[in-house]
Amino acid sequence: MNFELDEDQQMLRDSVRRYLEKAYGFEQRREIAARGGLDREQWTQFAEMGWLAVGLPESVGGYGGFNESALVLEEFGRALVLEPYLSCAVHAGQLLLNSGAGDVEALLAPLISGEQLYGVAHTEPQARGRPLWVQTRATRSAQGYVLDGTKTLVPGGDAADRFLVSARVSGDAEDTQGIALFLVDRDTPGLGLRPYALVDGSRAADLSFDGMTVPVDALLGSESGAGEVLEQAGALATIGCCAQMLGAIDVALWITRDYLNTRKQFGVAIGSFQALQHRMADMYIALEQARSMVYRGLAAAESGDRAALLAAASSSKAQLGRSAQFVGAQSIQLHGGIGVTEEYSIGHYFKHLLVLESLQGSSAYHLGRIAQSLRAA
């Protein structure tokens, strides 16, 4: 077992970090957020650096594996990147790759090049983390399929060109069978889009399908076999989310440490107060636990064992949520008043972690899932 990065991985990490340090400093990020949170030019830059290809097989123009995706995600978390890389690159890429669609390479090429932004429209309001909760219906018609339903919290939904939409052809809300995956153009008649900002400055949207007709060739893969693909890709996206959270937790901790060493009250640096020192020690423990669980998730992804992957996604997300809540909250607390200002960066780390905690299922959801699997055993 080797937890060190190999040379290629180090190069990848360093190049992402260097780029973001230059182009995505905190003030630059503020401007990006003010401009709408998804800079298409920035996205194209990501493409040119090859990062949209990371984690996809070479045969379709990709580079590296899921470990490399996690590396990029961690860096993005460190820099609080607003662009929806996790969803529109990693998650969308995995879905397309495994969808069983005919010409996967043709579908992935515009994703990799950044020409097309794919939004993942899968989550529904009642799902609350359940990977297979789909009530959006798809009914066969003469022209293709008619879709009815609602999707929520689609990252990058306001800017996406095309959506990967999960809809149920048959079965009940949580059945694995009966789910289909469609590729839907943004301007399809009957597609309602309600975009909004999230509290961390990123963007998302709710989608509604009101008797929306999509052609037959919008269907990716089989009419009822998308369930397993969604589960698998969802688990990877969950672990990817953990990697992104890890990056943010790590930076928040060290920013706080630096603050404690510089801020003076009562004639001394407040970092000399033992109660605060011990708090930081507890935060460090939470960070280490988080890092460990990211590795565990990556190992499960590598193993090829599907059941292990699904279980690990829950364990990792549960731990990352706990660590994030603790480190995020204490980071603000240890900063005192400035921790709750918009001006200072630490509050933004808190808000980003808040958003990531809810994406791909909250830690409470995943704990419940683990509990459920214990009962079933």
Partner: protein, 386 residues
């Protein structure tokens, strides 16, 4: 609403404090624990003499007619002194069930020997399958001639070995978990067909399992009305929870005091460890928990007199949930802050730890009560709008 002690209450509290001071130093406690059954009959006799055993019983049956607040004051002292005697089990729990179920003639006959200290009565209601549910009664009572035949078994009766009589819940009708059909019987310890198996518990006391093999109980020893004992059992359990809350507060306060003293006198790294801020803050957190627990013990005493049974149940679940959690927190912190000696048999702090752990487990632990509260729709349902 008045949080100051009345004169009478002050006298009562001073009396029990004095007794604890005189009879229950940690060394004396160790001696008492080596006595028969793990407690002191001498102390029990003193409790009787000073009227404590008659505290909650009404004057007609030989008691002092005091209420939950007074019981709370006594139990806090019991907790502080880590007293081993069956005050809660006999006077408050069995006594509470009796007061709720028995007829006045029965009380006049059965209570005086308890008050005088002559007889120990212990409640026998828990069974192997029942966990914390009072309505889950598999032990049966079948009518026979001028009495009843009891068959079944009860487990984990604290102080059961020393009991002269048992207050037994047995089913006269209904399915195993039905609320209706539970009856109460007063059974003498030496009865034919009654067998005991005794063992030591974690906190050094002795408990028993009781086996009923066709034990005959005369009609006169049916407590109250046949088939209607459920609410009396609830009342008893509620009194016990309120008592445990007060006892826990006493233990917690004692642990806090011990810890603060320890921090001040223990020297490491060139001075008393009380100067380390991390430890100061932990002690502060302990105090906060003690104050919360104390508040809940008071709430418990108040709600015992509430006529609304559902309100009583809910509130006491809340009390027990908090006491369990706060008690364990303070106990763990105290042991931790005592360093190595915290886990020795010699130091008092470890014994408080054990008692607080046991308190959490008695009558439902925190998780049990939180789930119960949640399933019941919660506590605070007041509409937000005026």
């Amino acid at each position: 609403m008045n949080f100051d002690l009345s004169e009478e209450q002050t006298l009562l509290r001073d009396a029990i404090d004095k007794l604890v001071l005189k009879e229950y130093s940690f060394e004396q406690r160790r001696k008492h624990s080596r006595g028969r059954g793990g407690w002191s009959r001498e102390v029990w006799a003193q409790l009787a003499e000073q009227g404590f055993l008659g505290l909650p019983f009404d004057e007609a049956s030989g008691g002092l007619g005091y209420g939950p607040v007074e019981s709370m004051l006594v139990m806090e002292a019991v907790g502080r002194g880590l007293m081993l005697e069956p005050y809660l089990d006999c006077v408050l729990l069995a006594g509470g069930v009796l007061r709720a179920a028995a007829t006045s003639q029965q009380l006049e006959a059965w209570v005086p020997p308890i008050v005088s200290g002559e007889q120990l009565v212990v409640l026998a209601c828990g069974e192997k399958q029942s966990r914390y549910r009072l309505d889950d009664v598999a032990t049966t009572a079948t009518a026979q001639g001028e009495g009843y035949r009891l068959k079944g078994s009860k487990i984990a009766l604290r102080h059961g070995e020393a009991a002269d009589r048992f207050l037994v819940s047995a089913r006269t009708s209904g399915s195993r978990t039905a609320r209706d059909g539970i009856s109460l019987f007063l059974v003498d310890a030496g009865s034919d067909g009654l067998r005991q198996r005794s063992y030591r518990t974690q906190d050094g006391l002795r408990a028993i399992d009781l086996m009923f093999d066709e034990v005959l109980v005369p009609e006169s020893h049916v407590v109250g009305t046949i088939g209607e004992a459920a609410s009396a059992l609830e009342r008893g359990a509620q009194s016990a929870i309120a008592a445990l809350a007060a006892e826990a507060v006493g233990c917690m306060q004692a642990m806090l005091d011990l810890t603060v003293d320890y921090l001040k006198q223990r020297k490491q790294f060139g001075g008393p460890i009380s100067r380390f801020q991390a430890l100061q803050h932990q002690a502060a957190e302990m105090l906060v928990e003690v104050e919360q627990a104390r508040s809940m013990a008071m709430l418990a005493a108040l709600v015992l007199d509430d006529d609304d049974a559902a309100e009583r149940e809910r509130t006491l679940s809340a009390v027990k949930a908090l006491i369990g959690r706060s008690g364990r927190f303070v106990a763990e912190r105290a042991v931790q802050l005592h360093g190595g000696i915290g886990v020795t048999e010699e130091a008092a702090v470890g014994h408080y730890f054990k008692r607080l752990t046991m308190i959490d487990l008695q009558f439902g632990d925190s998780d049990f009560h939180l789930s119960k509260l949640a399933a019941g729709g919660g506590l605070i349902g007041r509409a937000e709008r005026a």
